[in-house]
Symmetry: C2
């Protein structure tokens, strides 16, 4: 048997990303260590350095993968409700909220500055921008059909994203008071948020 057993299953890099996501979901951001990730993937604690420059690089890869999945979720919604802009907007926002609640710690890694100097990771920047472009498209369609105010679609997209993102962050941080949460379901709260910026 010559070069069949190539040390590992052949794709340690992706195995490490996957292990990282699992540890994140189980132990949270503070429980994510390179050594634990390596151990979960069945390699020594220095093996990850063959594939990632440091811990930040692994976190960048996890975040980038998260953005890819988020894009998938959002573009599915866009396709599904292509004929109804308003529905598209609401369901995309709902998908965003669900994505965040589904794995809060991965969402925090993507959006809470756990990754420093994100500009050093071109793939991260690209995937993140791809998501913004998609949001912008949704917003433009809604501007055209009079659901959202006109004007710069960059700024309008920022508003729509911001109002949902802000809600999600406050939600994840437990900042939304009990009295508010008693007044409506999560879905209703999201729709209420969007209604604030919709004119039709």
């Amino acid at each position: 048997m010559p070069s069949k057993k190539i040390y590992h299953h052949g794709d340690l890099k992706n195995a490490l990303i996957k292990a990282g996501v699992e540890i994140l979901a189980k132990d949270g951001v503070s429980g994510l260590s390179l050594r634990k990730v390596a151990s979960k993937a069945g390699v020594s604690h220095t093996a990850p350095y063959s594939h990632f420059a440091d811990k930040q690089a692994l976190i960048a890869a996890i975040s980038t993968e998260g953005f890819r999945q988020l894009y998938q979720c959002l573009s599915d919604v866009v396709d599904k409700y292509k004929s109804n802009p308003k529905k598209q907007l609401i369901e995309a926002a709902w998908a965003y909220v669900q994505f965040a609640m589904d794995d809060p710690d991965r969402f925090k890694v993507m959006f809470s500055g756990v990754l420093q100097k994100e500009k050093q990771y071109p793939e991260f920047v690209e995937e993140s921008q791809r998501n913004f472009q998609l949001v912008k498209m949704i917003v433009e369609v809604n501007q055209a059909s009079g659901v959202l105010r006109g004007g710069s679609s960059d700024l309008a997209a920022l508003s729509a994203w911001g109002i949902i993102h802000g809600f999600v962050m406050l939600m994840l941080e437990g900042q939304i008071s009990h009295t508010v949460l008693e007044q409506a379901t999560l879905r209703e709260l999201v729709e209420f948020q969007l209604k604030q910026i919709m004119i039709k």
Copy 2:
């Protein structure tokens, strides 16, 4: 000299909080360690445990102090523009943004889940709620004068807070694209965000 030299300057607890804030501003969230804080305050690395149960408790104290200062900023604005609800709303939002940009890492500690199980810290919860009550007051005045939509002031306050908070978080995370930032000053962006929910 009997009990004059009481081991320390007498208020190590607050000295540690202050040292923590300074380290946070200089080295960021990931650079904040209990040992560094202790060293900066001039005590041994185990001395903090006389005043805080663990690192989380120190972080809770830093966050709580941050909320106190934020409340001060916001209530100053409220007092200053008491006669003009709309101005009060805009300037309060602007003060919020400035507070965040002034010390981004402290803001992240307060709002990005660095502190886990925040419900275990009653002072943190109280100060955080006090800030929400203030936002609610500002929103209610603006609802009464027709600047903001009517309805539940809890939900309306959540929208106003959310849209600004979301903007700030995206800003701090570097998620706002260059093309957007070229279109307007930070102040203009904040006002644009608010205009999305204002009806007058």
